[in-house]
Symmetry: C2
Subunit: 359 residues, 2 copies
């Protein structure tokens, strides 16, 4: 029996144990085929059923109507930072809200792609510790890009901006499938799978029909969203095993957890356990402005940065891993994505109490 | 105990059983870390050791000197069809030899990228059933691109063209690590992993220093080879699990098989068993010109195309899968990559004899 730790990694991150157990049990023989998923043709009936199921589960969980297509693309959210402006700018300026490192990178890529890129809101004045309220909505924009959840500073958009007729585009890498939202204002949503959906190596892209009409024909084949839409993500060999794990995670959300509303309720409870404790004492200090707090990444500080090493060493002794803050900002961070249980969060709070008492 | 079949899939394709068994045994607990590889941070010591080992094994197996870098990129060989001309054209014309579908696609992408693209050799006149001898070497070319092995028509370059000072670039997706070759004339080699190296979802790219100097700064970050070279393929989250499986396969070639020379010898023997049988009788007919035959993909025809259905059904009954020819050309094809055993090939020949006798 494997000795499992509690994993607060920011991504790649914890997966549901039942998903890993199924992947393990099928490793040599996928659904009675006599071969591993790793060896199965992407054009086989077995794999096509996995891909279809991942698409249908995504549609059901997010409540997508028939105007949306679900695509699986390689290259991570970082490749989407370039593909979005390349495909969707359509000769117009593109608007971005800057809420920290990942938004900043998306803005940089849009400029690198030669697009007129406007920053229409930013929380840089306070080190990105909040979500800006003041956003300029330009009706001439091709789209308005936001980052729904910000892993590094631990902030999230509680509700999304109203951009009128301008389609929203969101990087939802770190909170997709964690909460209910209305997809209709979104022209495109992308999410690197390795936080809430599956392992590294595949990016979920949800695109609305009208956005597909913008795709320039002169882009390289693999950089056009239309290539994936027209070939059901099977123009070339997709990252089959990563999609297979995503399907198992989506099945777990639908069938074991009971759907997105139930998933959101659990995530609310988990975040409340941590934030309520942080707010109830003076030793630890949360770094995000309370109204902008993420439910996925809880960032906090110790009274002195020098204590972090001891905190992390003691946590590891207690079987709690992945609590170090991002190298760009320091501090501590607990990433509590979908697969993190409430028991794991309670174990962390118990350890935090224990550590604080010892000082 | 899983009932395993014999898998002649063209890619994704058979993996060594010992690799699958190790992946299975570590699925819940990777190297005593208490978490799956799927959950492990790409910046952890455990994963960095996997990545380093995959790079070092590639260097040793191929005999790469210090002027080469080994990169892991997402998007498949199809993305490389665009990245190669985008990164390496450097304002010069780019030359291609057309040996069938995959070369043809590479040529199409180079043109789509707006590069002056010349086809300096082709076997289109005989449906790509041979490797052309007559190739125009243009000293002004940025590079000369070839496809070392052609999966669909079952041909391979026995030796590579001498292009003088013009660097060779090769798509080696379907025969890398299957044979010894001199890497020094190559400026860049790329290989989708899902045939001879691992699962789908990662592409191995080997690039020479002088090629890195050609990379234009204005390309999007994820489309520049220099991004991967400068960040040891860790600019963003790489496809960790796919790289992990590649490392296990490379370890198997080095430690279980005994290195590339031994691997090549086994591949020679395997291909000889099949071709010797095909040449010894009149029922089956090989489709590639004998001097151009692939050792990885053995393509052949039955006396009548109508018999194929029965052949494939009988093969499946005998536990032999993946023998259907590519949908673009029909016929039959046995893909006998590194992980296919000589016993598997002998079982196929036994079945072929049995089927021929029954007609």
């Amino acid at each position: 029996m494997a000795q499992r730790v509690i994993n607060f990694n920011p991504g790649p991150s914890a997966l549901p144990l039942s998903v890993l157990e199924q992947a393990k049990s099928e490793m040599l023989d996928f659904q009675g085929s006599g071969m591993s998923v790793l060896e199965t043709s992407h054009r086989s009936k077995n794999f096509e059923a996995v891909l279809d199921s991942a698409i249908q589960r995504t549609r059901r969980l997010l409540g997508l109507d028939e105007t949306y297509q679900v695509l699986f693309i390689q290259g991570g959210a970082s490749l989407q930072f370039a593909m979005v402006p390349m495909n969707l700018a359509a000769g117009k300026p593109v608007d971005y809200v800057d809420t920290g490192v990942w938004s900043t990178k998306a803005i940089k890529e849009a400029r690198l792609c030669g697009k007129e890129t406007r920053v229409v809101g930013s929380s840089e004045d306070m080190q990105f510790t909040y979500i800006p309220e003041k956003i300029v909505i330009n009706p001439d924009a091709a789209y308005l890009h936001i980052t729904s959840n910000n892993t590094i500073r631990g902030t999230r958009w509680k509700s999304f901006p109203d951009a009128g007729a301008v389609p929203l585009v969101s990087d939802m890498s770190s909170d997709i499938f964690s909460r209910r939202f209305d997809p209709r204002p979104f022209g495109l949503i992308y999410a690197g799978a390795q936080k809430n959906v599956g392992p590294a190596g595949v990016t979920l892209v949800i695109i609305r029909e009208d956005m597909l009409k913008r795709v320039p024909k002169e882009l390289p084949t693999m950089l056009r969203y239309s290539t994936y839409a027209e070939n059901r993500s099977l123009y070339n060999t997709p990252p089959c095993f990563s999609i297979y794990i995503c399907e198992l995670v989506l099945k777990w959300i639908e069938e074991t957890i009971g759907g997105l509303d139930q998933m959101e309720k659990i995530n609310e409870e988990k975040a409340a356990v941590l934030y309520d404790y942080i707010d109830s004492q003076d030793f630890y200090r949360g770094t995000a402005r309370p109204d902008s707090r993420s439910r996925m990444n809880v960032t906090f500080l110790l009274p002195e940065a020098e204590m972090e090493k001891d905190f992390l060493a003691g946590a590891a002794d207690a079987g709690l891993y992945g609590l170090k803050g991002h190298r760009s900002v320091g501090g501590l961070r607990a990433s509590i994505y979908n697969a993190t249980t409430i028991e794991a969060v309670k174990a962390l709070v118990d350890y935090m109490k224990h550590f604080a008492k010892g000082r």
